[in-house]
């Protein structure tokens, strides 16, 4: 169901109340001596004794953001947004209301009401103009209501535009190959570090192949690269992988991490989103085709509003806005206003963290505690999203109170379908089925309606459940029906966002509470990121187009930096800014600020080409360094902040799984269109069907195509630190926990991959040693060492007998040993760590 107009209207019925920020500016005239005496005698002692414990800068915890130990704090008031005291106006003085003890929620001091004569003194004092000599400014820290200084805020390093500077001079000659190297080398030299030896060729191609495609290099690729002595061998191999379809499947996943991509709502009810996969495929294609990153962002925020070439292009741009629709949602929320505000919050959070590296959602309930972002900035953005219709689909059910339509992309859009065409007869049958189910639901409802009150009371819940049950059934059938046109062709439906007819501005919600609307703020952008005096307001419609252009702009100080840092982090193992999703005050500072600016500006100069950015990093000597330990360097920089070597990196969950399938020869690179989630159907039955499909036979497609249902992440991925699909995550954990070891040794998928690997090896020609070497080349891109051969021999001397003793048939023992050996290769550290 679409949110109806009254629901929205209710959000925007704001009380027209001005914030009395300027109250203290009034009357700075000297206080009359008798008034001063009155304050000192009758007011100050009460404030000190009764209020300061919780409401002063010195209090261990300032309650309600209200400080009463300065004139400024007292008049400004706390988080409620109401002035503490307005000179001469009792009705606009919240502390007056509080000391009267009339409102149950607001009785101060909380334990005992003040004596009547003290209350009378406060009345007199406020009426005489609340003379107050306590001029000292409120301390910014300590919880008092902070006034954000935007000019000061703009001085934060990340809020200033990146500037390209000439690479620094370096002392070591001959090492640096690119500008990046000069920045890195200068950092090393300044800290008394020296670069280590370059990576050898097999190590390097393994690194490049995994980084660009998420798959190991084939033995032939390794051989060719090792033999290629030409000066541009490295560039050629990089380009080969960049041009491969596998590149898009690898790099799209990095973006899906920060886009918190998933195919279900997560949270309490976990409703499936059968059309989410279109957004996933859009991201894959965007990376594959090296879509300029600024356009990529614009499409995700406002693709529906951008110009398009043809129907297909338009469909793709609408699918892009799925970014805003796929977030986690609490579908069972009975309060639609709350549901919508939570959804908007999720959109602001995902957009700001992924694209800007800012945690703007922190300003929902109060001004941002650390960054110069005011609550009004948040509600200016909220207005933009509230003026847009987020279409996420789903059908009504027992636990789903929030549904919407989807966007029909149309036949001419020529979009892929997850479902096969059905015959028009099948369609007609489905339609009949729906009509019957719908009729049954109506009958149940009218039957209960026609009961007399007494009967209905008696039937109670069971009557309710009957209606609910028949309705749910009808909705489930309708969901199936909606998938097709009359002739049985599947419809191309998409999640996404469209502008509403009439845009609306949002009130500030005090403490984020929908029941406490305050001042309405015009839709707009984030003040601190705009030049001083630049208009923040939007020009037309919801404002999403303005927002898109503002984010994907060369003038935005964050956008290019954040993405350059993300790419650097994925290739080098640690970010120049170590907190990739937070460039705010609480994020960490860049280790190489000038390098970051160099990358960001070059990125923009190169037309926001991600592939060019990747290539420039990979062509650096820093990227091509070995990962060897060096005691002297290690003593100075154990965390390798200065990149004196390449970090040893663990593969992502997807790469581990894909590599196991690839090595064993079982990887299917051509999955059918769509997703198992799209084929599963709606509601609880859908989840069950999905589970049946996934557990009946392990899928052998690349991991990016596995169904990503929130909180039901495939074990193979979750065990290797697949991130929480409800949260933006630009830097995955890489843990080493025993559940991974148990998985690799005991799980049937791991054992299955070992069997397939063994079968592949067994089929090869040649002597046992040749086969063993072939297995090594496939798994590690190198030959075994002597020590390893000894260990393998030892294994072979013992294992077959032991396997026989534990019941493996005699004729299967050698094969079992081969499988166990192959499993050992895939289970070893080298398989999942890149050097």
């Amino acid at each position: 169901m679409k949110p109806t107009a009254p629901v929205l209207a209710a959000i925007f019925i704001a009380t027209a109340r001005l914030v009395h920020g300027a109250a203290e500016a009034a009357s700075q005239a000297a206080i009359a001596p008798d008034q001063l005496a009155f304050f000192e005698k009758n007011i100050r002692p009460v404030l000190v004794q009764q209020c300061y414990k919780c409401h002063s800068a010195e209090a261990s915890k300032v309650k309600g953001g209200l400080t009463l130990d300065t004139k400024h704090g007292l008049r400004l008031g706390g988080e409620s947004g109401q002035p503490g005291v307005t000179p001469g106006k009792l009705a606009e003085s919240s502390i007056w209301e509080a000391i009267l003890w009339e409102d149950d929620d607001k009785k101060m001091p909380p334990k005992q009401k003040l004596p009547a004569e003290v209350i009378a003194n406060f009345k007199k004092w406020i009426e005489m103009g609340a003379p107050d000599p306590r001029e000292t400014k409120v301390a910014a820290a300590g919880g008092g209501k902070r006034v954000i200084d935007m000019d000061q805020g703009r001085k934060h390093w990340a809020f200033q535009k990146p500037v390209k500077k000439a690479p620094p001079e370096v002392k070591t000659e001959g090492w640096a190959r690119t500008d990046i190297d000069r920045f890195i080398l200068a950092g090393m030299e300044a800290n008394g570090l020296h670069p280590v030896k370059d990576a050898d060729r097999p190590t390097l191609i393994r690194r490049i192949a995994f980084d660009l495609t998420g798959l190991p290099p084939t033995p032939d690729d390794v051989k060719a690269f090792v033999a290629d002595q030409s000066p541009d061998a490295v560039k050629r191999v990089i380009d080969m992988y960049l041009d491969s379809d596998r590149y898009g499947e690898k790099w799209a996943r990095h973006w899906l991490d920060v886009a918190r991509y998933a195919e279900s709502s997560g949270k309490e009810v976990n409703v499936l989103y059968p059309e989410a996969w279109r957004y996933r495929d859009y991201v894959i294609e965007s990376f594959e085709k090296d879509k300029p990153y600024d356009l990529f962002l614009k499409e995700q925020i406002a693709g529906d509003l951008l110009q398009f070439d043809d129907k297909r292009d338009q469909a793709q741009k609408i699918v892009a806005t799925g970014f805003l629709a796929i977030g986690a949602k609490g579908h069972n929320n009975r309060d639609k206003r709350q549901f919508i505000m939570d959804m908007v919050d999720e959109q602001i959070d995902a957009m700001s963290q992924s694209m800007l590296g800012l945690t703007l959602a922190c300003a929902r309930c109060h001004d941002h505690k650390f960054d110069p972002v005011a609550q009004r900035d948040y509600y200016a953005l909220a207005g933009i999203f509230l003026s847009s219709d987020t279409l996420f689909g789903t059908y009504k059910g027992v636990q789903n109170n929030n549904t919407s339509t989807l966007i029909d992309l149309g036949r001419e859009a020529a979009q892929p379908a997850a479902l096969a065409k059905i015959s028009s007869a099948e369609f007609a049958a489905l339609k009949r089925k729906y009509e019957e189910a719908d009729k049954a639901a109506r009958e149940a409802e009218s039957e209960v309606r026609s009961m007399r009150t007494k009967e209905r009371d008696k039937a109670g819940v069971s009557a309710f459940l009957r209606i609910r049950g028949t309705l749910d059934r009808a909705e489930t059938v309708r969901a199936d029906l909606d998938q097709f046109y009359e002739d049985g062709t599947p419809r191309a439906l998409a999640m996404g966002v469209l502008d509403r007819d009439r845009p609306i501005d949002s009130p500030i919600l005090v403490r984020g509470d929908i029941k406490q609307p305050a001042e309405v703020v015009p839709r707009g952008l984030v003040e601190v990121l705009c030049a001083k005096g630049e208009p923040l307001n939007i020009s037309r419609g919801s404002g999403r187009l303005d927002l898109a252009y503002w984010i994907a702009s060369k003038d935005n100080p964050l956008t290019a930096r954040v993405m350059a840092n993300r790419v650097w982090l994925k290739l080098m193992g640690s970010g120049i800014v170590p907190t990739p999703d937070n460039f705010g005050f609480m994020g960490q500072k860049p280790t190489h600020p000038e390098l970051l600016d160099h990358l960001a500006v070059t990125f923009m100069e190169n037309g926001w080409s991600v592939k060019k950015l990747i290539r420039s990093i990979m062509m650096s000597r820093a990227y091509q360094s070995g990962s060897a330990h060096d005691a002297a360097n290690y003593a100075v920089d154990p965390d390798n902040k200065f990149h004196w070597r390449m970090n040893q990196r663990r593969l992502d969950a997807e790469a581990i799984r894909d590599a196991m399938l690839a090595v064993s020869g079982a990887l299917n690179l051509y999955p059918v269109d769509g997703s198992p989630v799209a084929r599963a159907g709606e509601g609880r039955e859908g989840l069950t069907a999905l589970y049946r499909e996934v557990s009946s036979k392990p899928l052998t497609c690349r991991s990016i195509f596995l169904p990503i249902v929130r909180d039901q992440i495939p074990e193979f991925l979750s065990v290797f630190d697949f991130p929480d699909a409800s949260l933006v995550n630009g830097d995955r954990d890489t843990t080493n926990v025993s559940s991974q070891s148990l998985f690799l040794m005991n799980n049937s998928q791991a054992q299955g991959a070992a069997d397939a690997f063994a079968a592949r090896i067994a089929k090869m020609e040649g002597a046992p040693l040749d086969k063993l070497k072939a297995a090594y080349m496939l798994a590690f891109s190198r030959n075994p060492t002597d020590a390893e051969l000894t260990a393998i021999r030892n294994f072979w001397n013992k294992f077959p007998d032991q396997a026989a003793q534990s019941g493996t048939p005699k004729d299967k023992v050698q094969y079992a040993a081969l499988s166990a050996f192959c499993q050992s290769l895939m289970a070893s550290a080298e398989f999942r760590y890149l050097n």
Partner: protein, 475 residues
């Protein structure tokens, strides 16, 4: 990630060079033993900042919202006014009337706590129980309240109580998971998830539904624990000897990789250690989960052979064994307790199913001297209304409900907080879920305001900006 001291790494580096694989395997075992003896890393036991009254938690989680006015919150006025129109409360399904509890309450123990006849066995432990009659939670909807009970929030994805506990305290047996959840309901990953805390702090699931989704009553969910175990804990192919041989090969390859890397690689070392731990867990987990060696008397104590009590009895007994083995936090889920109708029959059956097992657990813990260190908690996400729903049911009530705690530093034989005359709403000493979280952490020696984790630029707490410790109940 494990970061061992430089000395040990140095030692390994020099000793592993030039050795054959046998020497290495022996070394790996020695190292593993050492790691077990001196645990380090994120799960090592930590000394809490406050006095530690409880070292373990067993949370008996009653999913669905058990009725407090029929069990632990005695309301004589509700009985007196039964049948009268419910004051100021509009029911969701028509007119509502107050409904007396169909069960009698009696006073028990020296403390004289009121407990209904639904819990005859548990009532014998009245003097151990600290009954929290004034619980409150934000919303009367199952999923939100269940989420708040576990993570403090109805709305966001946040770490669970068990994950916070593990993060704050580590665990005492490095061969077992530190946070185990037995039989969690479907679609409640959040209740044992770690959210933004490192993955190592999430709960390890044992049992639970085979199907994703969950929601209503799922019979398979409560069908006992014979088959249930930790994921991938058992190797179905090879004997332990053969597996050790295979593992020795894996470790030899790992060691070789490390020497190719110049002998120093915390990553590879971490892999080596995790394999040894996994191998030990493989032996240890089934041992702890094997109830076969328990005496007949112990089994009888829990009611393991009872048709109605058997499933929960096994889980309670397993919880004790986990505590004994050093597991920090164990949650056991039972349900559903969502008695909108058929209250009489269903509540009676549910109470009977857990009465003896829970009483047995308390007795057993006490006999073994474990109760003083173990905080046992009982309760669900909310309670139920004093008025009826239909003829024989009660609706959700989030404004006042009851939980109880025992052992681990709480005062026994007391009621904390009071609801109004009918049991609608907590009036005195109201204990919101945030306060309860603060109190549980306090009993574990953790300060809920200082147990923080930095994520997305700010320090998060289990209790967000709320929570007051109920000091009155601390022994």
């Amino acid at each position: 990630m494990n970061t061992p001291s430089f000395n040990r790494r140095d030692f390994l580096k020099t000793t592993s060079n030039g050795f054959g694989y046998l020497a290495f395997a022996a070394l790996a075992r020695e190292q593993a033993l050492r790691a077990a003896a001196e645990p380090a890393g994120p799960l090592a036991p930590k000394t809490p900042p406050l006095p530690q009254r409880a070292k373990h938690v067993i949370f008996l989680c009653m999913q669905g919202g058990p009725s407090h006015v029929d069990t632990f919150d005695y309301k004589p006025k509700l009985a007196a006014d039964s049948g009268k129109a419910a004051p100021s409360v509009a029911g969701r399904y028509g007119q509502t009337k107050l409904m007396a509890s169909p069960w009698k309450f009696g006073r028990h123990g020296r403390s004289g706590l009121y407990i209904s006849e639904l819990f005859p066995e548990l009532a014998k432990h009245a003097d151990e129980l600290c009954i929290l009659n004034s619980m409150a939670t934000d919303l009367p909807a199952h999923p939100q309240a269940f989420s708040q009970l576990h993570t403090g929030t109805t709305q966001f994805v946040r770490p669970s109580l068990g994950a916070w506990t593990l993060y704050g305290l580590g665990t005492m047996n490095q061969n077992l998971p530190g946070f185990i959840t037995l039989n969690p309901p479907g679609n409640a990953t959040r209740t044992y998830g770690s959210a933004f805390l490192p993955a190592i702090y999430q709960g390890t699931k044992v049992g639970g539904p085979a199907l994703p989704g969950g929601g209503g009553g799922n019979i398979r969910r409560y069908a006992g624990m014979e088959q249930a175990s930790v994921s991938n804990i058992k190797n179905n192919r090879y004997s332990t000897d053969a597996q050790r041989t295979q593992l020795d090969l894996v470790q030899a390859l790992n060691r070789s990789r490390m020497s190719l890397d110049g002998g120093v690689s915390p990553e590879v070392e971490g892999v080596i250690e995790s394999y040894e731990l996994a191998f030990r867990m493989q032996a240890e987990v089934p041992k702890v989960m094997d109830l076969g060696k328990e005496s007949a008397a112990t089994k009888a104590l829990y009611g393991i052979d009872g048709q109605n009590t058997g499933a929960f009895a096994r889980q309670c007994l397993m919880a004790r064994k986990f505590v004994e083995a050093g597991v920090r936090f164990i949650e056991v889920t039972h349900g559903p307790w969502d008695h909108h109708f058929n209250l009489k029959a269903s509540l009676e059956r549910n109470c009977d199913a857990i009465d003896k097992p829970v009483a047995g657990l308390l007795t057993d813990l006490k006999q073994r001297g474990l109760l003083k260190d173990t905080l046992v908690i009982w309760g669900g996400e909310f309670g139920r209304t004093p008025h009826s729903q239909g003829d024989d049911g009660r609706d959700h009530n989030n404004k006042g409900f009851t939980m109880w705690m025992a052992g681990g530093g709480v005062k026994g034989g007391m009621n904390y907080g009071i609801t109004d005359d009918y049991g609608y709403e907590a009036l005195y000493n109201k204990m919101h879920v945030h306060d309860w979280h603060a109190t549980v952490l306090h009993l574990l020696g953790l300060d809920h305001e200082r147990l923080t984790y930095r994520y997305a630029g700010r320090d998060f707490r289990l209790t967000d900006v709320y929570g007051t410790v109920a000091k009155e109940i601390v022994a």
